[in-house]
């Protein structure tokens, strides 16, 4: 292959990369960003989109070029030139992907560290799942008194420390706008093997949904709960006027205050 074609091919690859990557990075695939974690994850996604577009462009261009250039003329029964390999080339395409994925791994590692850093003033909330509803308990004041709610009402801009437990099968806690997901695993006396706390810092007022993303039976598709992110003082006011109830370990406490969540599917 002449130098000229080589440069043309490389040019084509870069152009195609741009054509794929630029629009794709403009779109907010993951939807609204509702937490300080969301932004970091979306950036990582965009970086990966660019790299992947590059890889994909290489494959497409090479494939297209070969089909266009080497397509057999009708009736041509000759054989191609017997090239058995090329060590330099093979090393190249072993090394480049290795570099790309290792970069991706390290970057992800950093991001993971960032999104999981614990804040000192985190607000603890006990999330309990059962077929097919959610209960949120806010430990308040002294002893085992809690505020119990079917709506997850949280302050804006403060880190939440969610303690997840399930009463029957595995469920999964996901708020798409927060980008955070974690399974709720039923755990017995020896439940200490499950990593059941997850941190998230909502930073955008509004009403969202808790979505159950682990198949948990008949009602899985409709197992939802409302999330209300409100300014700190408004949250405190809300918390104040909630009834204090006794937390019975292992069972979701409290009357079904707040909006019923089962039917909402959006």
């Amino acid at each position: 292959m002449t130098r000229a074609t080589l440069t043309r091919i490389i040019a084509a690859i870069l152009v195609l990369t741009a054509i794929i990557a630029v629009p794709m990075t403009q779109i907010h695939w993951d939807g609204t960003q509702g937490s300080s974690q969301a932004n970091k994850i979306d950036t990582l996604l965009n970086v990966m989109i660019v790299l992947s577009s590059f890889v994909f462009a290489i494959v497409l261009v090479m494939l297209g070029y070969c089909i266009w250039k080497y397509r057999a003329k009708p009736g041509d029964e000759s054989d191609g030139e017997p090239i058995h390999g090329n060590t330099k080339l093979e090393i190249t395409w072993t090394v480049i992907p290795t570099v790309i994925v290792l970069f991706g791994a390290i970057y992800s590692w950093v991001v993971l560290g960032k999104i999981e850093t614990k804040a000192s003033d985190a607000l603890p909330i006990n999330v309990t799942a059962q077929q097919y509803e959610w209960t949120f308990n806010y430990p308040v004041g002294s002893g085992d008194k809690v505020v119990s709610s079917k709506v997850l009402e949280v302050p804006d801009g403060r880190q939440l420390e969610l303690h997840l437990t399930s009463l029957d099968v595995i469920h999964s806690f996901w708020v798409p706008e927060w980008r955070i997901k974690r399974d709720l695993v039923p755990s017995g006396p020896g439940g200490n093997d499950v990593d059941n706390t997850v941190e998230v810092t909502p930073d955008r007022d509004g009403t969202y949904n808790v979505v159950c993303t682990e198949l948990c039976g008949y009602g899985h598709s409709t197992m939802r709960a409302l999330v209300k992110v409100v300014p700190e003082d408004q949250f405190n006011a809300w918390l104040k006027k909630q009834p204090r109830v006794k937390a019975v370990p292992g069972t979701p406490t409290g009357s079904a205050t707040g909006a019923p969540s089962e039917e909402t599917t959006d």
């Binding site: 695939w29 993951d30 939807g31 994850i41 990582l44 996604l45 990966m48 992947s52 890889v55 994909f56 494959v59 090479m62 070969c66 089909i67 080497y70 057999a72 054989d79 191609g80 030139e81 017997p82 090239i83 058995h84 390999g85 090329n86 080339l89 093979e90 395409w93 072993t94 992907p97 290795t98 994925v101 290792l102 991706g104 992800s108 991001v111 993971l112 999104i115 099968v169 595995i170 999964s172 996901w174 798409p176 980008r179 997901k181 974690r182 709720l184 695993v185 755990s187 017995g188 499950v194 990593d195 949904n209 979505v211 993303t213 682990e214 198949l215 008949y218 598709s221 599917t265 959006d266």
Partner: protein
């Protein structure tokens, strides 16, 4: 009539099934009576009176079918068959022989392929029902419980009784020919492994008849949902055992065949890459499959005997299920891909008229994937609450798998470079299409492999999109490529290329239209395994469903093409693709015993364009050209059991 029931065959098999089932039932009732329990137990996870017969019946079937006749004589020390009967179960002279216990690897290959395609269409039909339900938000056609059973069965069928076994089937047919062996190492074991498949499939499909409906815990059957699920789940547990035993036995057979029965001159660096691929796959199967067998046994025990493997309240460990399950099921995804890689290598060199680029690195990449794939299982558990320290190492190994896989992709491209590229065969079209679709699926896999991204998209439609790009755009495309490539060899006839091309383009468009948008709705917030979803995803899902129906319709073209060409297609000749590997040097279809004398291998398998280079010399067998033997001409009618 009675005589008919006395001699081995499906009739006697049916009788055996009934007797064995009755025996099992009697056993349960007797034991329960002895221990002073009511004869029947109908608590939803129990039903011993159903489970035990379901275990005994298949063995009755095998005995009736004649699978054990030889071994019984052998075990009893009686003289086994006299010389003239030694091969009475070998080869097919009419389509009826395809419904018998047959020890000819070529017959078994056909049996595998037809049976698995039947299951492909059943699983696909389930997908169609799912897509119809998902076309609009809300529940219209099936209620959520049924929907759960549908996608569970869809996946179980596609994976355990379609993709995994059909690769075993294709390899069964071509691999012994490729390495110049007269048959597989253990022909009777080979036949037995085939006959376990219909059993597994029937259990998956039949579970829908159970009280409480089919198994509905997904194909992953996570405990404790599965341990508390209705009766149907037990049939998943059992079906997996039969499918698993079948593929372990086949893998064992392949390994022994490849290691001990290669033709003289065929050293490891002269084996076609399809042989390499199946060798690597068999290594995965032999060492990984027992894990799913084990874990499904534990689930069955938790269900039927009320043990506590996964019962957190009694000291069980819920997450251990996922660890053990994925230690099999991640390697399983390469079990579903590596044989496909082999097929693609064969197809691409043949139709590019060029030696495979970097043959040795291609072979080593396969081994690399085998080794790595044992070290990545927890990438399915990033959000499961498992030990958080395990995530980073698993992420790194997971991403590294992109490297050997990339080597294969680029080597195929290297093979195309400077080639004489023939697009006339549908096989080649599917091979090239595979490169595009699989790379997309692989890249989405790499994104899933990055913990932060996975935290967001895990268990969403993004994963469903990944699944289908690698399994449909990957495995199934390679399967189609393989079927089209070896169809002339297996049937002696040529399929209709125009219909083939139509099938390819419709499938490509259909699969892109169906599975690309799934990435988007997934990232935007649509979880997987839901019968009902929020209105905001309505339009996309409608579009997806329409493309899915197109995709389904396209498969009907394939079906038509295969059946018609098998019966009426023009004769293909021995080597329509002018390929070099040994299976093309014998007649199409090959003689009953493959070779009159074992071929001699004198060079590499892909020496295209090398003047005077030969791969193998097949003795007088080379003379036998032309018209299909009655074996397959008759087999035209063969419908799978």
């Amino acid at each position: 009539m009675v005589a008919a029931l006395k001699k081995p065959g499906l009739g006697r098999g049916a009788v055996g099934t009934v007797l064995a089932a009755a025996f099992g039932l009697g056993l349960v009732v007797l034991l329960r009576k002895l221990s002073g329990l009511p004869a029947f137990q109908t608590e939803q996870t129990g039903y011993p009176q159903v489970i035990v017969p379901a275990i005994t019946a298949p063995f009755g079937f095998f005995i009736g079918l004649g699978a054990f006749d030889y071994w019984f004589r052998w075990a009893a020390g009686r003289p086994t068959y006299p010389a003239e009967l030694e091969h009475k179960d070998h080869g097919a002279s009419s389509w009826r022989d395809y419904f018998k216990f047959n020890t000819d690897h070529k017959v078994i290959g056909i049996q595998y392929i037809c049976t698995t395609f039947v299951f492909f269409f059943i699983g696909g039909l389930m997908a169609m029902i799912m897509r119809a339900e998902l076309a609009q938000p809300g529940t219209q056609i099936v209620e959520p419980g049924t929907f759960n059973s549908l996608f569970s069965a869809h996946a179980a069928i596609m994976i355990f009784v379609f993709v995994i076994p059909i690769f075993a089937g294709i390899a069964n047919y071509v691999l012994p020919l490729m390495i110049g062996a007269p048959d597989m190492a253990f022909p009777r074991l080979n036949a037995l492994s085939f006959w376990m498949l219909p059993i597994a499939g029937i259990m998956f499909v039949g579970s829908f008849l159970c009280p409480g409906g089919g198994f509905d815990a997904g194909w992953t059957g996570y405990a404790p949902l599965s341990t508390g699920a209705p009766l149907g789940q037990s049939f998943f547990n059992l079906g997996v055992q039969f499918a698993g035993a079948s593929s372990v036995a086949t893998a064992l057979n392949f390994l022994v065949t490849i290691i001990t029965m290669r033709a003289p001159g065929m050293n490891f660096w002269r084996m076609p890459l399809l042989v390499w691929a199946n060798m690597s796959t068999s290594l995965l199967v032999v060492a990984a499959t027992p894990f799913i067998a084990g874990v499904q046994f534990m689930v069955l025990f938790d269900r039927a005997l009320h043990t506590n493997f996964f019962q957190a309240l009694n000291g069980g460990d819920v997450l251990s299920y996922q660890h053990i399950f994925w230690f099999y099921s991640h390697p399983a995804v390469y079990i579903m891909m590596l044989p496909g890689f082999g097929i693609i290598s064969e197809v691409i060199t043949t139709h590019a008229r060029k030696p495979i680029f970097g043959y040795r690195l291609m072979a080593l990449a396969l081994i690399g994937i085998v080794v790595l794939s044992y070290t990545v299982w927890a990438h399915h558990m990033f959000v499961s609450g498992m030990f958080s320290w395990l995530r980073i190492p698993m992420m790194i190994t997971t991403l590294l798998i992109a490297v050997p896989t990339g080597i294969k992709i680029f080597s195929w491209l290297g093979t195309l470079f400077g080639s004489v590229l023939h697009l006339r065969s549908t096989a080649m079209l599917f091979a090239l299409g595979f490169i595009v679709t699989f790379v997309i699926g692989g890249i989405s896999g790499v994104m899933l492999g990055m913990v932060p991204i996975d935290i967001h998209v895990s268990d969403t439609y993004f994963v469903v999109a990944h699944i289908h790009f690698v399994l449909f755009g990957g495995s199934v495309f390679t399967i189609f490529a393989g079927i089209y490539h070896w169809f002339p060899k297996m049937t002696g006839r040529m399929y209709d290329e125009r219909l083939g091309r139509l099938h390819f383009y419709l499938t490509l468009v259909g699969m892109l239209g169906t599975f690309v948008p799934m990435h988007w709705i997934g990232m935007e917030g649509m979880p997987r395994r839901v019968a009902d979803y929020s209105a905001q995803f309505g339009n996309w899902n409608l579009a997806i469903s329409c493309f899915a129906f197109l995709l389904g319709a396209a498969q009907l073209i394939f079906l038509y093409n295969m059946i018609v060409s098998w019966k009426w297609g023009p004769l293909a000749g021995d080597n329509p693709w002018r390929s070099k590997t040994i299976e093309w040097l014998v007649s199409s279809p090959p003689p009953v015993f493959n070779f009159d004398q074992i071929p001699r291998v004198v060079g590499g398998p892909y020496e295209f364009g090398v003047p005077g280079a030969r791969h193998a010399i097949v003795g007088p067998a080379e003379a036998e050209v032309g018209a299909p033997t009655p074996a397959v001409a008759g087999a035209a009618g063969a419908r799978s059991p």
